[in-house]
Symmetry: C2
Subunit: 247 residues, 2 copies
């Protein structure tokens, strides 16, 4: 299980608009008229300035795989507004005497080398999937998710398989990727073999982030074992995402 | 409950690439090696040509509201690749002696008038929310979702509240919006009153569609009462979305 906890923020060197804190008190006062609209007025926080991600990471190998460090990999780049990725090695390769961790690690090492050095990939996570895949020579396969944030807050996501990403805003999940699988426990996967999927099979989506949004990206090990409400409760408990990553 | 069943398609007058049909048979044969990758090779269906939506619609009022036609509204436009919207009137207004259906109906009538006639809204569902809201004079409030498809298959979505949209590809949901609410049964809503939300509170997301994708858009009345697997089973049963809308 690899998990990244992220926080969209405005660097302090940028123009900054003080934000009134979001309060639930107005809503609870109106519980006698539940479906009406006694809610806070819109804030100014949507005025965009340059945005970037603050990132904390944590990797918990499956107990049976702890000695070898598990089969997940991730990378974080500060390119543009930030680039984050998680890859989860498909464990079935162990039955073929192939170390399932090699493919995802090499894949993300290649992706990491491409970011910032290849104009074609810098604004397109799907092209990054394609080029990192082409550059990977290890035998194996992996589910992979890559998200790239532009400076204006647009987060571009390319996802193959059952890794995932959720965006938490004001204490609720406002965006989730959906997993892709062929059948139970056989996710879409990028592979060393021709029968696997390609970048063309990625689900490509974008979401507009605003300052203070929290991103949680991880492998299926996270999302299959931790309920959304637990993810939200944990992620929102920390202001420092580095701390949240280990929480 | 308002529901739109949609189907992304390539008009027959456009260049057309014959597509091998998707088959699960290859996957089920490999159930002895479940996590490996005996899956179909990528198809050519990602080659883009001009795309548009085929749309079917259906509205089932809440039984208590059937006599007045319910409190939901929707519109469909063929502008560009297609524009679709659902608005759900907030029923709490009935306690204030306001007909909850007036606001969503006027809102979407205004939105419908703007599409195709206002360059600023034509490529931006969030701006369409803003202008339709500003043009609406009825008292009331509504949850609203608008999706606009461009000719290259990019679907742009702006969502305020607990209406929703799901994209089904090859029999599985690959994209879902997430509902926004202040607390249980009090969704984010666009309102005639200053205390409601605005277009700035919309969750804005995009997803790249490919030919054959099925979209299901509806109010919370659909998604709160029908499981995802039922939606998928129903939507994929029909080739003709007009038929699916009444199925």
């Amino acid at each position: 299980m690899a998990a990244l906890a992220l926080h969209a923020s405005v660097p302090q060197s940028q123009p900054f608009i003080p934000l009134p804190s979001f309060s639930l008190s107005k809503f609870t006062q109106s519980s006698d008229r539940r479906t009406l609209l006694f809610c806070a007025p819109p804030q100014l926080h949507h005025v965009r300035s340059e945005m970037s991600l603050c990132v904390g990471t944590h990797l918990i190998p499956h107990p049976n795989k702890a000695l070898t460090g598990g089969e997940d990999a991730f990378f974080v780049s500060s390119y543009s507004g930030g680039v984050i990725a998680v890859a989860d090695g498909v464990s079935g390769w162990a039955e073929e005497n192939v170390d399932p961790s090699l493919f995802p690690r090499e894949f993300l090492a290649n992706a990491s080398n491409l970011v910032g050095n290849d104009d074609e990939v810098n604004n397109d996570p799907q092209i990054l999937l394609r080029k990192a895949h082409a550059a990977t020579s290890a035998t194996g396969s992996a589910t992979v998710i890559i998200a790239m944030m532009e400076r204006d807050g647009m987060l571009k996501i390319a996802n193959v398989g059952d890794c995932g990403l959720k965006v938490i805003r004001k204490g609720q999940i406002i965006f989730s990727t959906s997993p892709q699988e062929h059948f139970f426990d056989c996710p879409y996967q990028l592979s060393s073999e021709r029968v696997g999927q390609t970048f063309l099979d990625a689900t490509v989506s974008n979401v507009e982030l605003i300052e203070g949004d929290i991103l949680v990206m991880g492998s299926d090990g996270l999302f299959d074992n931790v309920f959304d409400y637990e993810i939200v409760a944990t992620a929102t408990k920390y202001i420092d995402v580095g701390e949240a990553g280990t929480g």
